[in-house]
Symmetry: C2
Subunit: 371 residues, 2 copies
């Protein structure tokens, strides 16, 4: 049997959810974890190590046929070291950099002619964007970390002195809503997108997604999927990527890229013929991609954030009794306030009911409501 | 966190496929394997031991909250020993015996008024059933083992002398087709069935299933689901069970019971809101059962049997390219001729096309056809 061995750097919930299609596909799967209790290490073979240490990562990689990542924090130097040693790493460092460095990403979007918000690199000079504006530390941020709303020149100056590195400044768009398009691409250059997903945020954290985006025009839907495919091609993506997008009227603006399975694609586990996790494995192994068609008119996903309740088992029993068609995904993570500890998904045709039930379920699990 | 720990005796493909919803549900899951390379041991935590040894099994059980089985071969004495020691075992020995002893099963079906083929216990006396008839060794058989077509008295006598135990004799029904109804039941007595599945056999091995049974009358469909619920209630089932049934015209006859996830329920992984594997976990943990509704008009499953090809990776790459909506399940088992090494499923609305593609896929993987 020549079934390949995949190794994932990182052992959070994304790696945990990737283990599932790996089992179905018969692919040997292991994760590079920080501690044995990491989310994915609970359910898959693992090696303990430090992902910033090229020696550790290289030793892990030598037992695998392909290496991939589940987060943006693996240093580019480590990825390039693996590549230099002949390890097959996907996405490649040259692609992954657009996920790790937001300034590079803006330059690339401009180069391929996709709509950016107004932006500039800031190194202490003149500011061409109206305040309030968004300032981003180009590297190391995720889930809203490293992103600041800046009201005036003084605040900008003080942030710049604090971070001691160039900043990415962006206009603060008064957008109508945010969407995400998941796209997959393989070394053979086969590519596929799923329908665009509405991402509903609260305090910078995604709380619910709806796929497809309700009431989106055919033109916009086609344009954003086409944009995602163009980006995938332009950056030589291998794997899956989330393209986060702002929508203003009938226009769209690229927000961020994440070159990995993404929270906005979790709906695809139940809602699509092929989940983003299976597609990522197919892509990095250069297998033909699976069908991205939906199995129901709508899929609604809600993130379960840690709240007051520490025992998630009882609420979950209650919710199962209430809705037999609610799908649960527990990440096996310790409950901490605001931490993503799981998600729920429902598929069906009555969008309002699906949203109502998913909202109820996450609020009940987090302890926001009692019944 | 009080998420329960489930232990499965046996580590074949059924335990492997049960590991997947366990991960999603956040349930700690481990298997009792014979060797580390067993199908489920490749993808889940495991303990090595001998399932006929009560001491080994008891040690395993003490680290779990609930114990279940994936095959009928665990000795009743071992199950009863666990129960005596206060271990929560589902299904219970009193239920499981109907899966392990076909004579007891026939008696029970007669007791609850469900249609049996003509049958009798044979201990060397008169035979009331016309030859050719079916003779079954009541215990220890599965997948057609221990089942014989007997043409005359001499053959019966020689079988009886060989097995040295009572036999179950059954009329050889000239049935139109075989179906299976999966049913789940929890300690709270919540119960649910899925639509009946057509099981297409070749040489006593199931090769393909179609759900729901095409062209089945509403009356028959309702009757067989109702029969499955009655059996579940009568034998105090906890977990899932396959009720295998012969159909003759508008009549049906109970064939066999399997008190575990079953090959005829594999379609439910993609075809139903809740798979048989998730439902089994929900049932044995006394969680509310999930919805058994289908997510597409038809689900077709084909078993991949080992053939001439030993490398299953290349054919699978070819098939993925041909049909992006084909779902693969590899069991990680060594290829041996005739052995079930995986299955494929497709869901959709064009039944003939689904059957054509699934047949092609399994024939191609087994090496029966070359393109």
């Amino acid at each position: 049997m020549s079934f390949p061995r995949v190794g994932v750097i990182g052992a959070g919930q994304l790696a945990r959810m990737m283990a599932i299609p790996a089992n179905n596909l018969g692919i040997s799967f292991r994760v590079f974890a920080a501690i044995p209790n990491d989310s994915a290490a609970q359910v898959a073979n693992f090696v303990i190590g430090d992902y910033t240490n090229a020696v550790d990562v290289l030793a892990f990689a030598q037992e695998c046929d392909v290496i991939t990542f589940e987060h943006e924090l693996v240093p580019a130097t480590v990825i390039r070291e693996l590549e230099k040693r002949g390890v097959k790493v996907y996405p490649k460092a040259d692609s992954f950099q657009y996920s790790q460095n937001k300034l590079l990403m803006r330059e690339k979007m401009a180069e391929i002619g996709l709509p950016n918000p107004k932006w500039q690199k800031y190194e202490g000079g003149a500011v061409d964007i109206a305040f309030p504006l968004i300032a981003k530390v180009p590297t190391g941020g995720y889930d809203g970390r490293g992103v600041y709303v800046i009201k005036n020149q003084e605040e900008l100056q003080s942030l710049y002195l604090e971070v001691k590195s160039p900043l990415l400044l962006e206009e603060k768009l008064n957008f109508d809503y945010e969407i995400s398009v998941m796209v997959a691409r393989s070394p053979h250059e086969q590519a596929a997108t799923w329908p665009a997903t509405l991402t509903i945020q609260s305090d910078g954290i995604c709380t619910q997604t709806v796929t497809p985006v309700p009431d989106i025009s055919h033109e916009l839907s086609t344009s954003v999927q086409s944009a995602a495919l163009s980006i995938a091609q332009a950056i030589s993506l291998v794997g899956v990527m989330a393209v986060e997008i702002f929508v203003v009227g009938d226009k769209f603006f690229i927000n961020e890229l994440a070159l990995r399975p993404h929270n906005s694609g979790h709906w695809s586990i139940e809602g699509s013929q092929t989940s983003q996790f299976e597609q990522h494995l197919r892509a990095i192994l250069d297998l033909p991609l699976g069908s991205t068609s939906m199995v129901a008119p709508y899929a609604v996903m809600g993130n379960v954030l840690g709240g007051e309740k520490h025992d998630m088992y009882r609420p979950y029993l209650h919710l199962m009794a209430r809705r037999p068609d609610l799908h649960f995904h527990q990440y096996g993570k310790e409950v901490k306030p605001g931490r993503k500890i799981g998600h729920v998904t429902m598929i069906g045709d009555d969008l309002l009911q699906l949203q109502h039930e998913v909202t109820h379920a996450v609020d009940y699990m987090s302890g926001v409501i009692d019944e």
